[in-house]
């Protein structure tokens, strides 16, 4: 029996700077390709917020070789799936195709790395699509709260705005702004191409060289993020709206993913809110034996609770989120959370709880290693904030975490003076407040 996660990987840097990661997998006749660019909302300034995400949309609007619509059709005809995503630190384009058809994805990605048109009419058409996307987000009270919390947490650092961008900027960004952003960040020296699936490594590397090797690499664009100054005192954000259901969110300053405290925090999160994958395409488990579920949900205060820990280039947030039952103020939930966090800081948690979190992390790792798409995702994603070694050693690092490490991390991270407390207060009367 072969374990999908155990295959060796190939790491190559082409002369033009493109980093290539390849991993053979024979579990299905598929190949998944993920092209990562080191650009996201972190690389944006006020006035052009949302521009990285908009550039991602424009990458589907055609090149002279592949006009808009031609590619959708070609990839769908072959039974493939493709999409893209923009986040704080990166923008990624992926295709998962039947193994014999992957050349189409490679041709496409090499072409649109440099040849996208950004036609003015397409820019204007996409402006209203993206505004519509933002309006869809605005329908969700959770988005409205998150946006205000991010702004409160980051006054200086560019993590302060949502990836979708501010509405004012979505109205103001020009075609030339978009094209300049594209030319600056879309180049081999700023990208990682990761493929996993049913191929021979040498053959695939040659195919990658043929398509990407001749592109002008340039240099990796310089971007200095502005460090967030130390937070001196708790910040509070209140958002109101004509809804019925309150939301409580508490965000602490998370360590960087390469910091040993990060692994301890991942275990703490599992203890507090249940185990989950760092991959947006990954698995999660139920969290009904987690400490905050028992305190908040079994305690009748909330209907759901979750934790959020992300791996980012610059220090980001660790957040706890509770959907409070209608008819109660969100502050009730805050007291319960504070009591639980105090318990974590008062005494080491039992070895049994640590062992459970480690077993859960291993199970999720096994589930996430099953799919070719997920393997290719991790090949590149880990390079965005560390390197693939981070992913390979993750379980070993988690295995080393002790109750004392957790106690230390709880004191280091869960600091009231360095948190943002966000509350969504509904203004409609609860119909059934039970």
């Amino acid at each position: 029996m072969s374990r999908a996660g155990d295959q060796p990987i190939s790491r190559t840097r082409l002369e033009n700077g493109l980093e290539v990661r390849l991993k053979e997998m024979r579990t299905a006749p598929l190949i998944s390709s993920w092209l990562w660019y080191r650009v996201g909302s972190r690389n944006e300034r006020p006035g052009t917020t949302g521009i990285s995400h908009w550039v991602e949309h424009m990458q589907f609007k055609g090149t002279p070789t592949f006009p808009a619509g031609v590619l959708d059709r070609a990839i769908s005809r072959d039974g493939g799936t493709w999409n893209a995503g923009t986040w704080l630190d990166w923008t990624v384009y992926y295709e998962t195709m039947p193994a014999g058809r992957i050349d189409l994805a490679l041709d496409l990605e090499a072409d649109r790395m440099v040849n996208s048109l950004f036609e003015p009419a397409e820019v204007e058409s996409e402006r209203t699509v993206i505004i519509s996307e933002r309006e869809g987000h605005e329908n969700e009270p959770g988005f409205r709260l998150d946006e205000e919390m991010q702004a409160a947490a980051f006054r200086v650092h560019s993590y302060h705005h949502e990836v979708i961008g501010d509405m004012a900027d979505l109205h103001a960004i020009t075609r030339d702004d978009l094209y300049a952003h594209y030319r600056n960040y879309y180049r081999p020296a700023n990208a990682v191409l990761a493929l996993a699936g049913d191929f021979e490594t040498e053959d695939m590397l040659e195919r990658v060289r043929q398509r990407f090797g001749s592109l002008d690499g340039g240099t990796a664009p310089a971007f200095e993020s502005r460090p967030e100054p130390p937070q001196r005192g708790e910040r509070q954000v209140v958002v109101e709206g004509p809804e019925e259901t309150p939301i409580l969110e508490v965000a602490y300053r998370a360590p960087e993913p390469t910091d040993s405290a990060f692994y301890a925090l991942a275990v703490l999160d599992s203890v507090l809110t249940g185990a989950s994958s760092f991959s947006p395409y990954g698995s999660g488990l139920s969290n009904k034996t987690s400490r905050l579920y028992r305190a908040l949900v079994e305690g009748g205060v909330a209907a759901a609770v979750s934790g959020g820990l992300a791996a980012t280039i610059d220090p980001y947030l660790y957040s706890l989120r509770a959907t409070i039952r209608p008819g109660q103020p969100p502050e009730v939930g805050l007291q319960v959370i504070d009591d639980e966090l105090a318990r974590l800081q008062d005494a080491p948690i039992s070895q049994d709880e640590v062992d459970k979190a480690i077993k859960q992390a291993k199970a999720i790792f096994a589930y996430d290693s099953e799919s070719i798409s997920n393997q290719a995702f991790w090949l590149g994603y880990s390079e965005m904030f560390a390197d693939y070694g981070w992913f390979e050693s993750y379980l070993d690092e988690i295995d080393k975490v002790t109750p004392e490490d957790l106690l230390r991390a709880a004191h280091q991270v869960l600091v009231p003076a360095q948190r943002v407390v966000g509350m969504f207060r509904p203004t409609l009367e609860a119909v059934n407040g039970r």
């Binding site: 579990t27 299905a28 006749p29 039974g79 009904k288 077993k359 039970r434």
Partner: protein
């Protein structure tokens, strides 16, 4: 057709689920077990359903089937809620129950070494749940919060409004998660009675896919569930849903929202409809292929009105809806609606083009390896084949079935189910003056 099929993707059908690789067995008590091996990773998926869905509840108890299914894991004769979840979460496994219109269903996942833990738990919660009073009240509170959120969600409200319009006096007009007033009134005895009346081995179908030999998997299920002898209901049929006499439009206002959601369409074909595959291919042309088909091309790509605009075909045991959905600025609702109706008129008025048909045929065949890559995907496929009596050789036959669909079949089935002059049109969004 033969000429066209030459341009379709060639699949290695030996890699697909087939009578040679699927084991199917019916236990003495009626339970049907399907199993397929996949040794690529040391995990296993267990999924299944039984006839205990919302159709078995009365309208004044709307949501009871879903609540009963969700409450199964809240306590049994042997274990408390906490002990049940401790047993699975401590080993990194998962198991959840829920119910839709026709069936209660479950889905679990574990490392294969822990398969018996999951199977024994499934057997325990199906056969001897106790619905403890405190746990049921807590669950009720969670469901009521979920319904409060649902009732403020423009997409969900537009969908429910559509169902009420398109399915008058039909069970599909009632949301399977119920209403707040019905769910708030449930008592523990309601759940116990529903369980006693509907849960039993007859009609239960279970699929196991993962790192275990199929016959061994079936034997494990026999050990866990073979002794369950209760006689209960079988799957209910639902009535047809007649087309509306004319287009009916209903808007629901939700304060504080920025975007409106639009849903329009008609009751669609059942999965048992002989032309269902033609309808599915046609629907792909209409609102799925590439970037959301013709609807996406018109509403998003050319008009720039929406981030999402697509069609869906939801035929199952009953006549689920064939509908189009879009999220648009309130000022653009009428324009988007007009574009959708225009596309529907074209879709029923003339056959899809030869190129369009060839595109979606290639897509339906070529995407099978991706759909069937995961254990979850295969388990879903096995349950689908059993539920709709498609035969264990369905996937090996599937490329040919797809290749045989004609443009005329698509136009015919579209014309029978979609009438652009007799649509249910539902809108949920901010009050008009906010537009």
């Amino acid at each position: 057709m033969a000429a066209k099929s030459k341009s379709l993707p060639k699949l290695d059908v030996s890699s697909l689920p087939s009578p040679e690789t699927i084991a199917r067995s019916q236990l003495e008590n009626g339970i049907v077990v399907l199993a397929r091996a996949n040794f690529a990773s040391p995990s296993v998926v267990i999924a299944g359903y039984l006839p205990a869905g919302a159709l078995f509840e009365s309208p004044e108890l709307a949501g009871l089937a879903d609540m009963t299914a969700s409450a199964l894991m809240r306590g049994t004769e042997q274990r408390s809620f906490h002990e049940i979840y401790q047993s699975i979460e401590s080993i990194g496994a998962s198991l959840r129950f829920g119910a839709s219109s026709h069936a209660a269903s479950f889905r679990g996942k574990s490392l294969v070494a822990d398969l018996d833990v999951i199977l024994n738990l499934i057997a325990e919660v199906l056969t001897e749940p106790t619905f403890p009073k405190k746990a049921v009240e807590q669950l009720q509170g969670e469901h009521l919060t979920g319904l409060a959120l649902r009732d403020q969600d423009t997409r969900a409200v537009a969908g429910m409004t559509f169902d009420a319009l398109a399915y008058p006096n039909h069970p599909y007009s009632i949301p399977s998660d119920g209403y707040r007033e019905t769910v708030a009134a449930f008592k523990r005895k309601d759940l116990k009675a529903f369980h006693k009346r509907t849960y039993g081995p007859s009609g239960l179908v279970l699929a196991i896919v993962g790192a275990i030999e199929p016959q061994a998997a079936i034997e494990r299920v026999r050990q866990a569930l073979g002794g369950w002898a209760t006689k209960r209901s079988t799957m209910l049929m639902v009535p047809d849903a007649p087309a509306l006499a004319r287009t009916e439009r209903r808007s629901v206002e939700l304060a504080g929202k920025t975007q409106a959601d639009l849903v329009l369409g008609c009751p669609g074909p059942r999965r048992s409809e002989p032309d269902y595959l033609a309808a599915a291919l046609g629907n792909s042309v209409l609102g799925r292929f590439g970037l959301m088909g013709r609807i996406g091309d018109s509403v998003r790509e050319r008009a720039g009105l929406a981030y999402y605009a697509y069609s869906s075909l939801n035929g199952g045991i009953g006549p689920g809806p064939w509908q189009i959905a879009a999220g648009v600025n309130p000022a653009n609702v009428d324009r988007a609606l007009a574009l959708c109706v225009e596309e529907l008129e074209r879709f029923v008025g003339e056959p899809v083009t030869e190129d369009e048909l060839a595109d979606v045929q290639a897509n339906f065949i070529g995407r099978l390896p991706l759909q069937l890559e995961s254990n979850d995907g295969v388990a879903g496929a096995l349950l689908h084949v059993e539920r709709h009596d498609l035969g264990l050789d369905y996937y090996p036959r599937y490329p040919q079935l797809v290749a045989e669909v004609t443009r005329q079949q698509i136009q015919s089935v579209a014309g029978r189910f979609l009438d652009p002059a007799r649509l249910a049109v539902a809108i949920a969004g901010p009050p008009e003056k906010a537009a």
